[in-house]
Symmetry: C2
Subunit: 147 residues, 2 copies
DNA sequence: CAACTAATTTAGAATTATTCTAAAAAATAT
DNA sequence: ATATTTTTTAGAATAATTCTAAATTAGTTG
């Protein structure tokens, strides 16, 4: 079996596993998202990528699909940057570096940060998730003392 | 001196301290934000509140002012909810509870969470800030076993 | 397979939050 | 006061996202 076929099979199986019909669009998007290393994408990005690969899919469907995948637990939505959401194909426990002023995002493995002394969730609620975002800025290159 | 006068004085002094001209709009918004306990507001919320108190100010000015206050370090911008930003009058070290599906946000005192084993910032960058968001969901009232 | 039903996709309009623009108003300096 | 600079503003513009209703497609069922 070719790699392409394997990726198709995997995508189809992934959809089946979460109970989503394997439509042409969902299969194509699943392949873009899950064949290869983990990634962070915005809806616009994924849509552009699909079009470039000649996958005909509307932006509305990309949004629908990203949300369905998120509900199904095979994507995780990240709210980090005002004005846009990112979706992370890595749904295991981990946190993020975010490069302020850019669009870049990098995973920190789950073991790489430890959150201690979590306060109890308020009455009537429970913890759905804990997000840690380490916001980075460029470090000043200090060649000479500033005036 | 009346409380009102004291609040005006405090607002004026706050602006002076960060080098922003004490215009009518900025003074009014500073009073709304800083007279009283700490709070989390969106631009729309603050604008609505100002109008209700008969402070004539445009939404554009509210946005400008929130950003100026943030740059000046007297507000902190929170990106938590896709599609809108909140501004926090508490700029000391602390983290947040967020009630998913709502718009509610609550401070966790800085000492209430401890982040350990922070990985080093990637080459050429430094940590600007660490945000911890504890996302909450309603806990199911389990009166009877679910089917 | 043919006909049917339900789910999905889509184009485009609509909505929402936010930013931009250029002109008028207000604050400070001279 | 007058001049200069900053700020405010209405309204247009932009950007991300959601909605809508119609057309298409997937999964049955006879």
């Amino acid at each position: 079996m070719t790699d392409k076929q394997k990726a198709s099979e995997a995508a189809r199986e992934r959809l089946r596993a979460v109970g989503l019909r394997p439509t042409r669009q969902r299969l194509a998007l699943a392949k873009l998202l899950f064949a290869g290393p983990h990634r962070h994408v915005s809806a616009e990005q994924l849509h552009g990528e699909a079009l470039r690969k000649k996958v005909r899919v509307s932006l509305a469907t990309v949004y629908n699909t990203l949300h369905q995948f998120t509900e199904a637990g095979i994507l995780r939505e990240l709210v980090i940057d005002p004005g846009r959401s990112y979706f992370d194909t890595n749904v295991t426990h981990h946190h993020h570096f975010f490069f302020e002023g850019s669009t870049r995002l990098r995973d920190i493995p789950g073991e790489g940060v430890e959150v201690k002394r979590l306060p109890a969730a308020p009455e009537g609620t429970e913890v759905a998730r804990v997000d840690v975002i380490i916001r980075l800025k460029d470090s000043p290159k200090r060649r000479k003392r500033s005036s």
